[in-house]
């Protein structure tokens, strides 16, 4: 055991990657699922070990292939990415029991193993982005996860899934290209790809180097913003989420955009704010405006959706707005709020998308009209959905409230009092779209479609209830969520000084 500990950073990516290769050789869906579940669980255990190590002894640097940074690729784990790693692998682990039946129901037998292969590749890519300290290596993992994501989406039952995957393919590729152009420019200016080193060298950049650095900043920010679906670059997301298989949607919603946000944080704070203080401030202001637009416009679009999955997808765009809102405040409370919302939103939306997957499993539809009366037919599933919805609204006692509390404190710290009102006003729109589901599910007569629906089998139900309970748990006990997020925010800000 003692020999394995130093190797944990590499294993974090290697385990799901090897798992992906192995599942590709398996034919039966159940074995593929078992392998995927095992690999996911191990990843989570590794991530937990890393977070524990980092909290105890400070950042870990791992030299891949023994090459010293900045020449070799460095895996660098600090509180922030240990937190993201645990978030991604932890939420996936909770979701895995759900996957078995949901995937078996939605995907044909001979393609299930492929589905799990793609899922593990995607997981490996996401974990890779989060753990690497190398800007170009991050691009490689971004491509790994994105290519796998396109396939996951295209495996949706609905034929429109193909179009959605294609849309995402185009926009995702553009995003990745912009990112790599930006990284290339930075490499030209500084001669390094190591993110920590990059930050240090940009700090010493001369005046005539500013122009390419600014261009790089623009490319990188826009590129990542496409990936994280920052309004108005979110157009790929609603269709992708709506038509992907239920499990893929839940997994992607809880993890993929979160990792992109992480990457943005990595670049914005240590790398850029060092070199170009005033410009960074302008970028933050722009980010703030776009976040506000996301919070309002996407929420309003969610209100008018008839397809609940698309409704949640728009809600995700809005919730990402809250996260970037926190980033744009760029102070201790604001960043804590943004980072903790990464986590809280993953938990709440995970609960809701899983519940929705269970509704689809029983009712075979996610249209609002077909879900009439489902609240009484599937009480536990619907209750978890509603609890997640209360979290989105930011009701006190749920995880969502904690995020918003920090965001409000952050806004006040900046002296931007009116933002507090905008923050709460946008939550009010969530009341409307969550309320629509409640009215239909609980007060309408039972529809033809869900006449025989009842709560799903335990292996689907337990993950749903776990995430639903976590929505409340993390609204009361915040040591693991806001406590760690606050440390991460502190480290980012200290790095930026």
């Amino acid at each position: 055991m003692r020999d394995i500990l130093p190797q944990l950073p590499a294993l974090q990516v290697v385990v799901p990657l090897v798992g992906a290769v192995l599942t590709a050789f398996v034919r039966r869906g159940i074995f593929a699922w078992a392998l995927a579940a095992l690999a996911t669980f191990l990843s989570a255990a590794i991530a937990a070990g890393l977070l524990w190590q980092v909290l105890a002894t400070g950042p870990i640097s791992y030299r891949l292939g023994g090459w010293a940074p900045p020449w070799g690729i460095e895996y660098r784990v600090d509180v922030l990415n240990a937190f993201v790693l645990l978030l991604v692998s932890g939420v996936s682990t909770v979701m895995m029991p759900f996957a078995r039946r949901s995937v078996a129901f939605e995907i044909e037998g001979d393609r299930q193993a492929w589905f799990y292969t793609m899922y593990l590749l995607c997981l490996a890519g996401l974990l890779g982005i989060a753990i690497t300290g190398d800007a170009f290596n991050a691009f490689v993992f971004m491509e790994v996860s994105s290519l796998a994501t396109y396939v996951l989406i295209a495996m949706g039952r609905d034929r429109r899934a193909l179009l959605a995957a294609y849309q995402y393919l185009i926009l995702g590729t553009i995003g990745a290209t912009l990112y790599v152009i930006g990284v290339g420019l930075l490499y030209l200016v500084t001669g390094t790809l190591n993110i920590v080193d990059l930050g240090a060298r940009l700090g010493a950049a001369s005046a005539e180097q500013m122009r390419p650095i600014l261009a790089a900043l623009a490319f990188i920010t826009v590129g990542i913003s496409l990936k994280l679906a920052l309004f108005p670059l979110h157009l790929w997301l609603p269709n992708a989420y709506a038509y992907a298989p239920s499990f893929a949607t839940a997994f992607l919603a809880a993890t993929a955009t979160k990792v992109a946000v992480y990457l943005l944080l990595r670049f914005l704070f240590p790398v850029f704010s060092l070199a170009i203080g005033p410009v960074a401030l302008q970028i933050l202001h722009m980010l703030l405006l776009l976040s506000l637009a996301a919070m309002f416009v996407a929420s309003i679009l969610a209100v008018y959706e008839q397809n609940v999955k698309r409704m949640l997808a728009y809600s995700s765009v809005a919730q990402i707005g809250y996260i970037t809102f926190g980033i744009s405040l760029a102070n201790q409370y604001g960043l804590t709020g943004g980072i903790v919302h990464l986590f809280n939103h993953a938990v709440m939306k995970g609960a809701m998308f899983l519940a929705l997957g269970a509704l689809f499993y029983r009712v075979r539809s996610v249209r609002l009209a077909d879900l009439a009366g489902v609240g009484r037919q599937m009480p536990l599933t619907s209750a978890a959905f509603v609890v997640g919805g209360l979290g989105l609204i930011g009701t006190p006692g749920t995880a969502g409230f904690i995020s918003k509390w920090y965001l409000a404190l952050g806004a006040i710290d900046r002296g931007w009092w009116p933002l507090v009102f905008l923050l709460v006003a946008s939550s009010l729109i969530a009341v409307v779209y969550v309320g629509r589901f409640v009215e239909v599910a609980y007060f309408r007569p039972v529809s033809e479609a869900c006449k025989d629906a009842r709560d799903p089998p335990l292996n689907m139900l337990i993950p749903i209830l776990l995430l639903g309970a976590a929505t409340i748990y993390f609204g009361i006990e915040t040591e693991l969520s806001a406590g760690v997020a606050s440390q991460a925010a502190d480290a980012l800000l200290r790095g930026a000084k």
Binding site: G397, A408, F443, R444
Partner: protein
Amino acid sequence: MFDLTSEQLLLVALLVPFAGAALIPLFHRVPNVREAVTLVAAAVLFLSVIGLLQPVLNGDRPEALNLWIAPGLVLAFKVEPLGLLFALVASGLWIVTSIYSIGYMRANDEPRQTSYYVCFAVALGCAVAIAFAKNLFTLFLFYEALTLSTYPLVAHKGDANAIRGGRIYLLMLLGTSLLFLLPAIVITIVLAGTGDFVPGGILAGKASGLVLGVLLGLYAFGIGKAALMPLHFWLPAAMVAPTPVSALLHAVAVVKAGVFSILKVVVYVFGPGTLLGSGQSQWLVYVAGATIVVASLVALRQDNLKKLLAYSTVSQLSYVILAIAVLMPISIRGAAMHIAAHAVSKITLFFAAGSIYTAAHKTEISQMRGIGRRMPWTMGAFTIGALSMIGLPSTAGFLGKWFMLSGAFQGGQWVVVVVIVLSTVLNAAYFLPIVFNAFASEPEAGDRAAHAHGEAPWPMVAALTLTAAGTIALFWFPGIALDLSSSMIADKP
């Protein structure tokens, strides 16, 4: 009770309603046991609140739980006299309402009775938690939970009308609390560095007069449950709920949680002295006064009995706010007294309305001519409730008004005196004709149903007789309420 310490009693009081709510669904198929669970929970709650009475009057301030959640957010409970008075009223009336509910729900063969009792118990638990909240966050948490747990009760019927009423209810209450109350709490905690309720207030010297005025506005309108005009629409809309819901929640627990919260914020967050010194609260006198008069005028025009009672509630709630806004110690005592007095009298009126609906299937006042002869107990109780609304001596309603008038004279608030006199006249103008017609008029000749019914089922009659008796008892034996309210004023930081 059972030799529990006050801390343990507090925990019991906080947990019992929720424990009841958890047990009720288990007896879904045995309604008698299910209702017994409600009654036992209500009785245990009431006894534990009673048990807290003596220690609190002796100056003890038991606390429970002290859970740090985030900067500025602590989940904590503490009993003080005002909260105890509110808890006493809510828990005592829960017993009576449960008895009444059993009669009402069964006689009207209402659907989904299990979820009805669950939501009711949760709502009561929230009301008690609001009463015992130690700080703004705890109060806010259960304030929102109270809205959410009563929403299913408002929309209980499930028809288009009920769903629409529920929608207005949810959006108005959540909307005001999210838009105004939450920012007010954030601002308070940032300015004062704490959200705790402290006698004398926490904002003295921490905010300019203008900020105090703005904050007061955010609180007064953000606490939408207090139904200050123009944010009162949810209350008439909520009348689509079954009558016991209107009675306990929309005459007692929910609306009283509203005015109680305002009272608590003024006494323990602003501090009446600080607010009076800033001179920023006079507008609240005018808004509350206008609400009293306008709501009474609207009530005059109602033919639906429950709607009339709803507007009468809006008007009576603003008495409490008016008394708070005068900011004299005596008028603040009046506000506390009126919370209790209005609770017992208004619940009597709603019980009577529900019993008329159950026995005679009548909802409009114009159909109720001569009904007093067939339902003497119901209409007798109604009369007592109505007299208390008007504020006649020997009914509870007189006490609050007396304190309020004294406060108004002390503070030189002549507007308040005029408003109280005017509204007393208006109250008489819309309540007395109902009473008169019920007893003195002949039923309409074509009204054959009038001959076909007698009193409502006995649990309902028993409940409304009890609360009518309470309305009179509170006037003659106001000791506990007086002691608690004076102990609230006497509390020093």
